[in-house]
Amino acid sequence: MQATVDQTRPPFYRDERVLGILSQIVVVAIVLGLAYFFLGNMLRSLRDQLGVPISYGFLRQSAGFDIGESLISYGRSDTYTRAFVVGLLNTLQVSIIGIILVTLLGIIIGVMRLSPNFLVSRIAAVYIEVFRNIPLLVLLIFWAQAVFFKLPRVKEALILPGPIYLSNRGVAIPWALPTETWPTYRLILIGGLVLAFVVARILREQGKRTGRMPLISLWFLVTFVVVAIIGWFVLPQPLVLTTPELVGFNTQGGRVFSQQFMALLSGLVIYTAAFVAETVRAGIQSVSKGQREAATALGLTSFQTLRLIIFPQALRVIVPPLTSQYLNLTKNSSLAVAIGYPDLFAVAGNTILNQTGRAIEVFSLVMGVYLFFSLTTSLLMNIYNRRIRLVER
């Protein structure tokens, strides 16, 4: 055995570490070079064509345009910043309501899809296949132009039980209006929530000590509801329900949602629910049959099986794709620009951009907001995933 192995180091072009560093330098240099090239061109053309440097100062100027609907007071003399915030709040409004509705509808359809009843599962399958394969934008424009914009005048409004009035002035639904005791009541509700958390904490500790887990979420809910009911009767009527009614050429009372809002909301919810349903179905199916059988063998009741065995495991599969669907819904709400609902993108990316011509500033703001949403969500998602992984062995 002769030691013919070369003890010297390999030449640098065969050394993995050197190659790694070199290739990184090359790639980073190319990317930086391209960025320099593009940004340089951009700054140059901005200077030559428009003669304006990049500046966010315009945000303090008066906007001078009206916005169809707004959650905060807004007039055309307000600043661009305020217009921006109006759009942001509208985006949040449609996203939050949409997420709640899509969760409900998606779970219902996903569970229907798994029903042993042939007809029920077929209906769910048809729903999913129909709406998953149609572009959301087509659906939105269809809802807007072919349904909500074609609603009759207020005099001939369609009346659904509730009463809900559907007319070309929008959709009026019954709504609880706060009275002057509402601020106090809100504090009581927050107190109830805190108390409920304390109760849940105590029960969990007790459960760990005794080995018998009580129904924590049930007691949580009971505590909160009891406080809420007591508060309701101690304070005279913090909320009063108003129902819309026909007065002259308009509806009065209740809360009116514009046609644009309703078209956007229904399009988003109906479309996204198909995807959520698939997520839910996949999650429930991912729990193997043996788990259910084992739980039965251990003597758990079917409710306990669902609560302690199926649900926690299904949730682990469901939650990550579900959050990404929520995020999709939020991002897709930017399609509101097609049907005239003043969301963030419609206000900033369309109106403000057209008025000021400040493409870079406007796009950086709009994209920054959407990026903030998505990065925050993925951060929360990572934390959630890590917590859930602890449950695993």
Partner: protein, 405 residues
Amino acid sequence: MTSAVSVTHKEALPPPTERYTVLGWLYHNLFKGWFNTLLTLLSLGLIVVVLRPLTHWVLNTARWGVIPANFNLIMRGQYPADQAWRLWLVLFLLAVVVGFVWGVWSKQVQIALVAIAAVPLLLMLVPFFDGGIRINLLLMDVLGAGGYLIGRRVPPRHSRVGIFALLAYAFVMLIILRGFTGEGGAWPSVPTTLWGGLLLSLLLAVFGIVFSFPLGVLLALGRQSKLPGIRILSVLYIEFIRGVPLISLLFMAQVMLQLFLPAGAPTIDRVLRALAAITLFSAAYTAENVRGGLQSIPNGQYEAANALGLNAFQTMTYIVLPQALRAVIPVLVGQFIGLFKDTSLVALVGLFDLLGIARVVTANPNWLGTQQEVYVFIAIIYWVFSYMMSYASRRVEAQLGVGLQ
């Protein structure tokens, strides 16, 4: 002993008469228990409530005349009518290439192929098509069969010919559509601004996926890389693109792409700008999907490749990527369907794709108030294409045994 066993069997499985008769089926699937029966009745009610007004609208109220009157517009946008034969030529070539590739890749006739061949035949049944269109559709099938017969003669070791045929087709198709003899001549140029309708939607989707795929694979490899510089850049790109809506990228491309180029650069036309945005957008999603495939490759594969003396590049191209990509075929098809649907967004930046044309048609004073008909029609077109793709992907998936692993 034996009798006891047979008794349990009888309880476990209902007699065939009950299992296989209509009544037995009805009982087990629809009317087992009061809750099930209630659900069945509710579902029937729902079906009646939805279908009755719908059929009434389809058969009586709807003004379907708007579709035949604008059919050419919906299919090809403003593409000049006297050049429409070029579109047929493209379709004929498509038939030949699809038949050929199918012949190369799989040697026996399959159901999916029959289904594809049935599409032109089914289209011949559309009532308002004239004789010329029907003959052309028939010709497509004949040419496809011809291509298939030629493809079958290609020996399996040359199966890579299929990819080349597809790439060559994409290239030739663009030249035919764009024209190359300037203003006059037999093949006058047709600017992309005139392309529209289904033609534009399909082109954007196909070229979007073709261009974004290599970029996406590179980004996925970059994200998996051990080198921090490359990894960070890839992660930044992917997370940025996935965090913003496509519509903002499309608007940005329309407004700002030209700003990024040097002063003397030729103007990029609107279709290309939209395609650039779609490509950049889709690449980030491809990257994430491919990464899923890469993560499914066990370490042993890399180690085995190393032991065989393959270098990093060879390991990737011969060992890792083929397995990783095969594992994510269904996901990539899903993404392609999403991309096809997303091309409808270009209507918002002023292109006349399927949706853009629909808006033009409904704005036509002759056809006021036909939004329902037109949008339902283009929704059906989108639906048929997307559904066919997802169906085909499921078949391929079953054939390759992906997902069974």
